[in-house]
Each structure stands twice: as structure tokens, then as C-alpha cells.
């Protein structure tokens, strides 16, 4: 399947190839690619973290990146909104296309990239400001809204979108840090979507949350994919099966297998994938 993926057209991904072979049923319409990762090598100074990674991230779907610690999945995630630009001596070779345009072209505005490709981190990191200001900050600096009433409407819409409005509507002036861990993470998601990005990158967004907060965030991811393309790094295999449409398995900086999540977890093509997902590594 990896080879199939590599051979795909840059703008489209043929969907569910094995289903077609197995049942001869109608072939789903090709998926539009939101991010195209083409033969990417990535280095932290002399250390190579990614080797010839090629991946098509389909629009409007959740793509999970899985693999053991140090396999390069978070590095790849950070490459997708140029967060690694902040790392000294880091360099990327190859190409990442966002909506068909080179994300690393000299004329690209990095700030604008991070507005369009937002990120949610492992540990909830609200600003040391009020709940309201946490969400208002980015739309204000990006000039997304012009008036206070427009901003109020945006804050309410974002908080409703992440299911937080009913819980915090009467205390918007209180610090974001006063919320529970799960609420803080949803606040961070609300903050990210306030500038209307096209892609949400999530780096183990539930690893610091309890099962109830985790379920709320997972439920939210399922809703968000209607409007956003989501790429999620997770160590939780069950979470990957629950929330993602496609999964990529990484090992030692290389992509080992990429495909439909259901297929990858029920009948992986690669023995290393099978060993990892079924707990036979070591």
C-alpha cells in the first residue's frame, strides 16, 4: 500500500483500493489532498529524523500518525506548519505542498502558515489570560474581526463548537488556567479554530486527560473533521482506531505503512506494523 501511495497523483488519493478488489463494489470518489508530503528527509543538525517520507493527507479526514517514541511522527507533524523552523540547525529536504503550493517556498509567510495550519499540543497550554482573551488574542492580531460584538459572537461560536460554552459562559473573564485539564484542552482547540484554519495538527492531545475528557475531545475531533483536515499523533492505538480515517505507521524515521485505518488495524500488510500494533515489539 505504501508503494501505491507513493505512486498516487499529487492532487488526489485513490480511496480504499482493497475494498475495490475484494467486493468489486463502486469505487469511492477520489479524495482531494490537503497536504502532500513528497520524499521528505529531515535533519536535526547531523541527526536524520525522517527518511524519504511521502504521504498524502486527504482533505476533510482525520489522519493518525502512530509509531514508537523517536520514530519521527511528531517531527513530521511539526514540519507541517513549519514549527521546526524554530529549531536551530534543523533542515528539511524534499517538498511539502499545502493546497498544491510549496509550504517552504521563500515567499511563504510563516505566520500565515501557522494560522492556516493550527496546532494543539500534548499538554493544554492556555495563555495566562482570561478565557475570553485566550480565544480573542489570535483573531485580533490576524485582523479576523473588526468590532467587539463581532468578537463576542466569534468567542461564543468557538466555545460552542468545542462544547465548552455551557460550562464557561458565565465566567469568561476568569483565567483559562482555572479550568480543568480537559476544559483547558478544549479551550486550546477553540483558540486554534478561532482563526479559521484549514488544518488542525494535534500532538497527543489527550495524553494528559482523564477518560471522560478524552472521550469529549475524541468526539470533538469527529465533529471538527466536517470543516477541518485533522492530523493527529497518538500513542493510543485504540484512539487511532476510534478517531482516524487513515493511519500512517512510522518506524525509525521511515513510513512503514499507510492506509485505511480499519484495514491497517485488522489486516496490516507489513509484519513490522503487525508487531507494533499487537504489542510484539521489543
Amino acid at each position: 500500500m505504501l508503494m501505491t501511495t507513493l505512486a498516487m497523483e499529487s492532487e488526489t488519493i485513490a480511496g480504499a483500493g482493497r475494498i475495490e478488489e475484494a467486493t468489486q463494489e463502486a469505487v469511492p470518489a477520489p479524495l482531494q489532498s490537503k497536504l502532500s508530503i513528497k520524499s521528505v528527509d529531515f535533519f536535526y543538525d547531523k541527526f536524520q529524523a525522517l527518511y524519504d517520507v511521502s504521504l498524502e493527507i486527504p482533505k476533510g479526514q482525520v489522519t493518525a500518525l502512530i509509531g514508537p517514541s523517536g520514530c519521527g511522527k511528531s517531527t513530521l507533524l511539526r514540519c507541517l506548519n513549519r514549527m521546526n523552523d524554530l529549531v536551530p540547525e534543523a533542515r528539511l529536504e524534499g517538498e511539502i505542498l499545502f493546497n498544491g503550493k510549496d509550504l517552504y517556498a521563500p515567499e511563504i509567510d510563516v505566520v500565515d502558515v501557522r494560522r492556516q495550519i493550527g496546532m494543539v499540543f500534548q499538554k493544554p497550554n492556555p495563555f495566562p489570560k482570561s478565557i475570553y482573551e485566550n480565544i480573542a488574542y489570535a483573531p485580533r492580531i490576524h485582523g479576523v474581526v473588526r468590532s467587539r460584538s463581532e468578537m463576542d459572537g466569534l468567542i461564543e461560536a468557538c466555545l460552542k463548537r468545542v462544547g465548552l460554552w455551557d460550562e464557561v459562559s458565565d465566567r469568561l473573564d476568569q483565567p483559562g488556567t482555572s479550568l480543568s485539564g480537559g476544559q483547558q484542552q478544549r479551550l486550546c482547540i477553540a483558540r486554534t479554530i478561532a482563526v479559521e484554519p484549514e488544518v488542525l495538527l494535534m500532538d497527543e492531545p489527550c495524553s494528559a486527560l482523564d477518560p471522560i475528557a478524552t472521550a469529549r475531545v475524541e468526539d470533538l475531533i469527529a465533529e471538527l473533521k466536517e470543516d477541518f483536515t485533522v492530523v493527529i499523533v497518538t500513542h493510543n492505538m485504540q484512539q487511532a482506531t476510534r478517531v482516524s480515517d487513515r493511519t500512517a505507521f512510522f518506524l525509525l524515521g521511515k513510513i512503514i505503512e499507510f492506509g485505511d485505518t480499519s484495514n491497517l488495524f485488522s489486516n496490516p500488510e507489513n509484519q513490522e506494523t503487525e508487531d507494533y500494533i499487537s504489542g510484539r515489539f521489543g
Binding site: 478488489e21 485488522s266 508487531d275
Partner: protein, 238 residues
């Protein structure tokens, strides 16, 4: 996926899967013995053997419940995926088929006890070749599971069709014999039901073979027929 699988890091998971598989094989052994006792009891008019087959069905029932319970425990505790998940699902489904086979053996034993009360008729010997076919199918179904032999699993459907034909032929012959020998109607009727038991055992053996193919190749070959399998349906070679 032909390389030997590495062991799980979690030894309790490895042990649980091994135990589940071992239980299925032990259950198959008991069910097979019940069938042998029932048919020997029928052919030799041995009531003791029939009683053993009937009594031992409880052991098979207990195995089925234990395998289901252990399967649920594995699903709950270890959330298996890929081959492991197929192993757990197959163990539970094969256990169900083994329980049904043992029920058929019990049915044969109960009819054998009744038949033994009547004078012996030569048509009883017609059960032997049918038993041979059903028993061989059953053994090979279990062997396909034990050795994860896809080719053997795939071959059972076609062989079961031969058993089905033999079953229809034998029923016709028994029906004709009933018309000739009206005083032994009850014995013939019992034998017709025994023939049906063999036919069902063949079906269960095919199911076991199909589950074995599913475990090893992740291909669902149920309900596609021997002809389609011969033509290499779903990319699995017969």
C-alpha cells in the same frame, strides 16, 4: 504474514491467546471422541458407548462457555487487533461449531440407543461411509485451524459437496427400503435423522475451515461456494 509471529511483550496476553487456542483444540478432541463413540455405538449396538457420548456432551458445553468467557476477557483486557483479534473471534466461533458437532454426536447416540432396541437391519452399515466422510472433514477442519493451513481450509467446501450428494443418495435409498420393509419404519426414520446429522457435521467442519482461512489470511470466504473458491475468488488460491 508468513514469518513466525514474535511473542507479545505482555506475557499475560501471550498466555491468554495460547490458552484460548489450546482450549479449542482440547474441545475438538472431546467432540471428536464423542462422535466416534456415538457412531461405534450405532454400528456395534453398544449402549455403553452411546451413554458415554451423551454424558460427555456436558464437557463440550462447558468448554464452549469457558472459551467464550476467556475470549471476552481477552477482548476486554488486551484490546487485540489484526491477527490476534481474528484468533479470538475464530476461537469463539469454532467453539460454537464444535458444540453443535457434539450435539449432533449426542443426537446420533440417542438414536443409536433406540435403534438397538429393534432387530438389526443391513442398511445401518450405510452409515459407515458417510461417517468416514464427515469425520475426515471434521479432522481436517481442526487440522486447518491447528496448523493455520489455508489450502486445507479452502478444500473443505468442495469435499462437503460430495458429502451432501452422498447424504441425498443415502436418504433416497433408505426411503426406498422403507417402502419395501414397512415393519422397520421407525429404524429407517432414525437412520435418516442420523444421515442428516452427518450432513450437518460436514457443514460445521466447513465453517471451522473457513474460520481458519480467516485467521491466517484475513479473508472472509463464507457463503461464496466451492465453484467460486476453485476460481480463486477474493485472491485466495484453493
Amino acid at each position: 504474514m508468513n514469518e513466525p509471529a514474535r511473542e507479545h511483550i505482555l506475557t499475560s496476553f501471550e498466555d491468554a491467546l495460547r490458552d484460548s487456542r489450546s482450549s479449542v483444540l482440547r474441545m475438538a478432541s472431546v467432540a471428536q471422541q464423542n462422535l466416534e463413540h456415538a457412531v461405534s455405538g450405532l454400528l456395534t449396538r453398544n449402549i455403553e458407548l452411546c451413554n458415554e457420548a451423551i454424558a460427555a456432551d456436558d464437557e463440550v458445553n462447558a468448554f464452549e462457555k469457558a472459551i467464550d468467557r476467556d475470549g471476552m476477557e481477552i477482548l476486554m483486557r488486551f484490546s487485540p487487533v489484526a491477527t490476534d483479534l481474528r484468533h479470538v473471534l475464530a476461537a469463539m466461533k469454532i467453539a460454537n461449531n464444535l458444540e453443535r458437532i457434539s450435539d449432533e454426536a449426542e443426537g446420533i447416540a440417542r438414536r443409536a440407543r433406540k435403534i438397538a432396541k429393534y432387530p438389526q437391519i443391513p442398511e445401518t452399515a450405510m452409515m459407515e461411509p458417510l461417517y468416514g466422510m464427515a469425520s475426515a472433514l471434521f479432522s481436517d477442519g481442526i487440522r486447518a485451524y491447528a496448523e493455520l493451513d489455508v489450502d486445507l481450509g479452502l478444500s473443505l467446501n468442495e469435499r462437503d459437496e460430495k458429502l451432501d450428494k452422498a447424504h441425498s443418495k443415502t436418504i433416497k435409498e433408505l426411503t426406498r427400503a422403507m417402502e419395501r420393509d414397512t415393519k422397520n419404519l421407525k429404524v429407517y426414520l432414525h437412520l435418516i435423522f442420523v444421515v442428516r446429522c452427518f450432513e450437518r457435521i460436514g457443514d460445521h467442519a466447513v465453517n471451522i475451515g473457513e474460520e481458519s482461512v480467516f485467521v491466517e489470511s484475513a479473508t472472509d470466504i463464507r457463503h461464496i461456494g466451492a465453484e467460486a473458491l476453485k476460481e480463486g475468488a477474493l485472491g485466495v488460491s484453493p
